[in-house]
Symmetry: D2
């Protein structure tokens, strides 16, 4: 198991499961997004604040490997690492582990960028500062 | 633009948008899943029926390239192609286009397999027959 | 069955079903909201436009009677009527019927109001005009 | 403020907010359902287990009074009380309070019943025992 710079604990809620009795695939992206936002908050970057300023942090590519399904009430955690992959792009490596047996549930890589008020990919000072302080 | 063996029309519902005013990333997986299930129905493969038989069609990998966001009320369609990538795996190529300007919104590749009643990847006769008749 | 001033057709998507194999209760509110927004559009009232102007149409009370569950792939429609219940409040009567057997699925009454830019309940000229033209 | 026999803490996740920047109405039903299921677990009643036995705990009526909206990242809690309202029906009184200022967000009353394997409202021994032990 990797070291993660940020971890967040969750529990599956029954409404997140579909008729197969397992967490619906789309819901994992909710878990991953929430973890990224909570991580960014630890850097002083608040998603709500950015949205109000019309700065959008957006995913441009998601790769998700579904290893094993989560079921209702399962306890699990999401681990996160982030690295800059180009001048304007960041890659979030995010893995989900079920607490029971520390079982790997999902590996994900989410590539993201920031769009300025005009909708163009751009360096956002607050974000740069946050990532620099993080290293 | 590619030829697709199946297309499905949609309209964005406002509740699918997040605070950025655009469709939340996770929702695209809902659109893609619904399109796959509707496509499979045209082959005589009903997801509900399979679930009751405890045969699970599961995604094992998803790759999503987010090209441009959808907004509230946007009309769009999902195109789908499918190919067998190994004895037990299928790849669904799915693209989303907004009707206005036929704008590319998302490219996706979803790799899936079928699990038998014991949870093992397996050839499912109904599915094999469907895919063979489809060619 | 009542006469409705607006009707909208839907089909259940499998991801809207929960582990019981039926549409999750919360999802009916999504159907109802989408129907209200589509109805308002026919009056020239666009929810996205209002949101950008910081005018919020909000539900203040919801009463939902769940009569019979919808299942995956079910075709259904939502019927809507609206009446003013006080100077600043509207009541949307919304019923859901499954197409097969025209079976009653849900009765709902959603009481709503409009909040102005300062977050206070208020008469919104565009909305007044729409409702007056509607009668 | 009432005394509650069960309380559960939550935090709003950004994906639960809609384009108005506030939690979408339907999502409150998710919060309420999750709280009921967690409460039932404390009585030894597991929703997953019941679903597998084809016993369905279903809401038959929901009344929701939306008092004030939750926003992204808000901390809140759901309080729950339950009472039998007839031989086969239970009423869950559920209120949501934002932690900041202990602000009332929502009052809800959810009337529920249990359906046996044949889909009929019925007394379920495990549930009866749980509720009796609870008093």
């Amino acid at each position: 198991m990797l070291d993660y710079c940020f971890k967040l604990d969750f529990q599956v809620r029954d409404y997140e499961c579909d008729m197969q009795g397992i967490v619906n695939n789309a819901v994992y992206q909710n878990y991953l997004e929430h973890t990224r936002h909570e991580f960014l908050k630890t850097l002083g970057v608040d998603f709500v604040y950015f949205t109000e300023k019309r700065i959008h942090l957006v995913a441009i590519r998601a790769e998700l490997d579904f290893k094993y399904p989560l079921k209702g009430s399962d306890l699990f955690w999401v681990g996160l690492n982030v690295e800059r992959v180009s001048r304007l792009r960041f890659a979030f490596k995010q893995d989900i582990y079920r607490q029971e047996g520390n079982k790997l549930i999902l590996n994900a890589k989410i590539t993201a960028t920031a769009l300025n008020e005009r909708g163009r990919p751009d360096k956002i000072p607050e974000l740069e500062k946050a990532f620099n302080s993080h290293k």
